[in-house]
Each structure stands twice: as structure tokens, then as C-alpha cells.
Symmetry: C2
Subunit: 178 residues, 2 copies
């Protein structure tokens, strides 16, 4: 099943992290692939300690959508390749699993933004979505999910910003926003 | 700071769980108070293993808003008292903390629904919100947050249902929805 969390409000990545925790609590195998994230956020160490496999792809700074660096494009491309590899179940063979059981939950965090910023093509992501086995739960997050992505998804939530303290000039806080 | 996650879409409780994980990852103390939940969901054991303090209040079945049981009303009342106790910092003394450091993150899961179903008064929740020390992050989840609750909050996200498989007759799945 395909889930998408999009929109301009807070809660997309955190909802995916919460889903990961719930799935781990039910004994499921979870893989989180982060796009456009150069630096580790506070939740990653905890997820790894719970045997969630985390891959991170991103340059050092924030991406300027008008002037993306070559490094940003390359990192997103590598992330997409990793996602394809995980979704095909090859990640399981590589990690020495006796069976080829794939990850049951695969989260592609901020991949929608990579499409919005044209760092990868919409078509490449649509192909990836179509290739996922039905028993895998694929979760895509980030603002800018396209109508064609939404068309392919089974569950879509728009996180709508009603109020945000950034609008009052309050900066992002460690342990809350990152 | 006060955060509210409301709306009819999936992702409200999971976003709060994700916030808890991020906060734990940053070394913060977190308390989760669940309303209207009679049964333990998959994420609770994981949260408890990470030293998140979890309190659960709810009857055995789903609450019928037209005919709430006496038990439902009593459980919500107990939950509110626990929330007040936690927000005042007394929970820390009770758990034998040397200092009176309060929980830094307090999550009141589904409390908005308790207000929507008139199991507690809006005024009681508004009073609670106002009583929270500024250094505490209070997070309220559930559909039905009222305009006055939103007015008091600093950050509000509406989780808007764009698509949901329940509408296609697919049932809630362990490890994904609960």
C-alpha cells in the first residue's frame, strides 16, 4: 500500500517516524531513506537503535531550488537508486538475510520535495511506486506531491499549516523541529 | 509552546509519536497521556522502553458520542487530572526525581476528540493549556480542536484527508493503523 504525507504544515516526517515506531512495535522490518538531509536529526539514532535501517542522502546545506548544486542532484540520484534496491528486496540479501524477505515498511522521507525541486523526475518516482510489491508499505513524505503521485497512492494526508511559530520569527529548536 | 494536530486525516497520533522519538533522541523527558484508548497500540511498548512515561485512559470499546458510557466519562476525567498533575511538575516529584524538573514534552493524545464528544468541557482544556509553563512543549492531538483551542496554540497543523483506504473498505492493520 502507498501512503503520501504532503502539504506545508508540520508533521510529515514526524508522522513517518511515528509509523516506523508503531511498525517496529508490531515486529515489522522498517527502512528509512532520507532525501535532502545532509545532517542527522535527533530521531535517527533512536531509530537505528531499534533496528530501523536508515540511509541518508543530501548535501551539506539547504538546497536552493533555483540553483541546486551538482552534489544535491547526485545525492538524490543515489537515494533513488537505494530506494529501488530496497524495494526490489535486494537490500535484504546484501545484509546477509537468510531469506529474501523484503522490508515491510519503506519510508522515502522528503522525496516529494526532490520532485518539486526537479532534482529527480516525477516519472522516475512513479516508476518506483509502481514497482513496489503489494505487501510492502511505501511511505512518501514532503510538500509538493504531484497529482499523478496522489493518483497512485492509497492513502494521502495533506498536512495543512494553520499556524506556525516560524511566522512569528521563532527559530527551529533541537529535539522539536530537528 | 502549544502544538495542535487536528483534522480528519491519518497522521495525528503518529506525528506526536514521532515528536516523542525526536525529543528522546535529543535527551528530553517525554510524557504521553492517551485519551479514549482502552487498548495498547503497537508503539507504546517501544516508547516505554525509551523511558517515555505513558498513561492510558479509556474504556474497553469505541466511544459512541451519542451515548458515552459512564466509564468513558470517568476515564477522561482521570486523564485530565493526570495531565494537570504532570503539567504542574508534580509527576516528577512522585517518580522520585531529585529535582522538580518537569517533563519537557507532554502529549495529550486524542484529547481534542474528548472535547468534541463533550466528555470534558472545552473550558477545562483551555485552563490546562493556560497553566502550562512556557518551557513545556504541550502537544494536543485529535480531530475537533475548537477555535478557542487553536487561538491559544502556537503551532497548528490540520491533517486533511485526501484519500483513505478505509473508504475502499480496507480494515485497520496492526503495525500500521494501531
Amino acid at each position: 500500500m502507498i501512503q503520501i504525507y504532503t502539504g506545508d504544515g508540520k508533521g510529515k516526517t514526524t508522522a513517518a517516524v511515528g509509523l516506523a515506531i508503531r511498525a517496529v512495535g508490531a515486529g515489522k522490518k522498517v527502512c528509512l531513506i532520507q532525501f535532502l538531509k545532509g545532517q542527522e536529526t535527533s530521531e535517527v539514532k533512536i531509530l537505528e537503535s531499534l533496528d530501523v535501517k536508515v540511509f541518508r542522502f543530501g548535501g551539506k546545506g539547504f538546497v536552493d531550488p533555483k540553483k541546486p548544486l551538482k552534489e544535491d542532484v547526485e545525492e538524490v540520484k543515489k537515494g533513488l537508486e537505494k530506494a529501488e534496491w530496497v524495494c526490489r528486496g535486494e537490500a535484504c540479501l546484501a545484509r546477509g538475510s537468510v531469506t529474501t524477505d523484503p522490508y515491510e515498511i519503506v519510508i522515502l522521507d522528503e522525496i516529494n520535495v526532490a520532485v518539486l525541486f526537479k532534482l529527480i523526475s516525477e516519472d522516475a518516482v512513479l516508476e518506483l511506486i509502481k514497482s513496489v510489491p503489494p505487501e510492502t508499505e511505501l511511505i512518501l513524505t514532503g510538500r509538493g506531491a504531484t497529482p499523478r503521485m496522489i493518483e497512485l497512492a492509497d492513502l494521502v494526508t495533506e498536512m495543512k499549516l494553520i499556524k506556525h511559530p516560524f511566522n512569528k520569527g521563532i527559530k527551529a529548536r533541537k529535539g522539536i523541529e530537528f
